[in-house]
Symmetry: C2
DNA sequence: TTGACTAATGACCCGTTGGTCATTAAAGCA
DNA sequence: TGCTTTAATGACCAACGGGTCATTAGTCAA
């Protein structure tokens, strides 16, 4: 049951107004609050009481909308899955640029998603406590991962048709192409938002590295400005 | 208090022999059991009772050697930190090969550590529930990470002196060099040991990608065999 | 063989927390 | 204004699990 498609959350601690009936808005607010707390504390360590407080409601209210803590996680995952990536996928066909342009756009979207969105909390929970949700890990693999890697693959195939690739596209592991973004996400999950990860420079270095590894004529690409 | 330095665990579910006094062996066995369970279930979700059972002892025995669950995690981290990486560091000075040879050796050691060792459980716990151990996250950053990245940096500097690099070594982010290994570890933490990650091929592709991105003359490197 | 020492045990304690439900009150309507 | 509907509440329950400790038994020196 997809609830919201909005990838940017309407978070903030939520000031406690007396008692208000807002049936429509609740589920999204609860998911936002939960993701925010899970991102910093993990799934098991986050009490539902805390989620409720952050959402500005009482604990019981959560059970009006979600039958259990695990169901809340599933709803959060389904809500946030897809999102930006899909919209990038829609843009791609019209783009028709070089490998550099297309890959740059996709990687940018991936970094947005992994570093600036609370979807990162999902990844964190799936890594640390995913064994509790075997079905959801599978779902994540099929939807989020497969779509991202599938997009990489399509971009590579198009570049190969243009003769830009040094290898046949089947010989390239798409995971390798996105790996530095995953590593950046891990960095953030471990050490939090800090001065140690300069996204812009990192992202540029990533694109540069990958292009040099893939292109027929790598020496023509970005020379540090 | 470092207990064991042995990186390869003496695990196995441990058959329940009646009652035996083995003061020396216990701490290591407990750590092994804990890491094995944390790797698949996470820290918070693993009961100490389960750790004890796996180690072939009773729960109370754990508290004979570790004052608390968190202390057990700290001991496990301190026990496993360092290890293989340090031994590679000792080998490096004598090696004096090409960038390819040196980096290949280091990456191989990193993959060993991240994919074949229960140290991976530490990373998993630190990612998912690290907020509970701020001091240990810092320790991990300083010891494990800094030593790994420092080694990359030293290898790069040596390669630069030989004129092998296209960029000054300061311009290369060492994290970028190891990123695909981190991504592989994430893959494993998410989906477990499966047919989907062919380590040998992946590792080779990793080395190839990085070398092409770094070397002055990348076209001379590995052409797919 | 026996006694002293202490590693090992597991029943027990109690704080925590996911989940319930009788009660309260906001909102809409006549 | 009063009545009905139902969203929201929070006190409460029960299970769970980290941590304790009186008791048991392995080991070894005398």
């Amino acid at each position: 049951m997809p609830l919201t498609q909005e990838p940017s959350p309407r978070s903030e601690p939520a000031p406690r107004r007396p008692r208000q009936r807002r049936k429509e808005a609740r589920p999204g607010e609860i998911i936002d609050a939960a993701l925010a707390l899970w991102a910093e504390q993990g799934f098991a360590a986050t009490r539902l009481e805390a989620v409720a407080t952050r959402a500005g409601i009482a604990k019981g209210t959560i059970y009006l909308y979600f039958p259990s803590k695990e169901a809340l996680f599933e709803a959060a995952l389904r809500d946030r899955i897809g999102g930006t990536l899909a919209s990038v996928g829609a843009q791609l066909p019209e783009l028709e640029g070089s490998l550099e342009a297309e890959l740059g756009l996709l990687l940018h979207a991936i970094y947005d998603r992994l570093l600036e969105t609370d979807s990162a909390a999902l990844l964190k929970v799936l890594i640390g406590e995913g064994h509790r949700f075997p079905g959801l890990v599978e779902l994540y693999r099929e939807v989020a991962l497969a779509s991202g890697l599938g997009m990489v693959r399509r971009i590579l195939e198009r570049a190969a048709q243009r003769g830009e690739l040094r290898l046949p596209p089947e010989a390239v592991d798409p995971r390798m192409v996105v790996a530095p973004a995953i590593a950046a996400a891990v960095w953030r999950m471990l050490f939090g938002v800090g001065p140690s990860l300069d996204r812009t420079a990192y992202e540029k270095a990533h694109l540069d590295l990958v292009l040099r590894g893939l292109l027929v004529e790598p020496c023509s690409t970005t020379q540090s400005p």
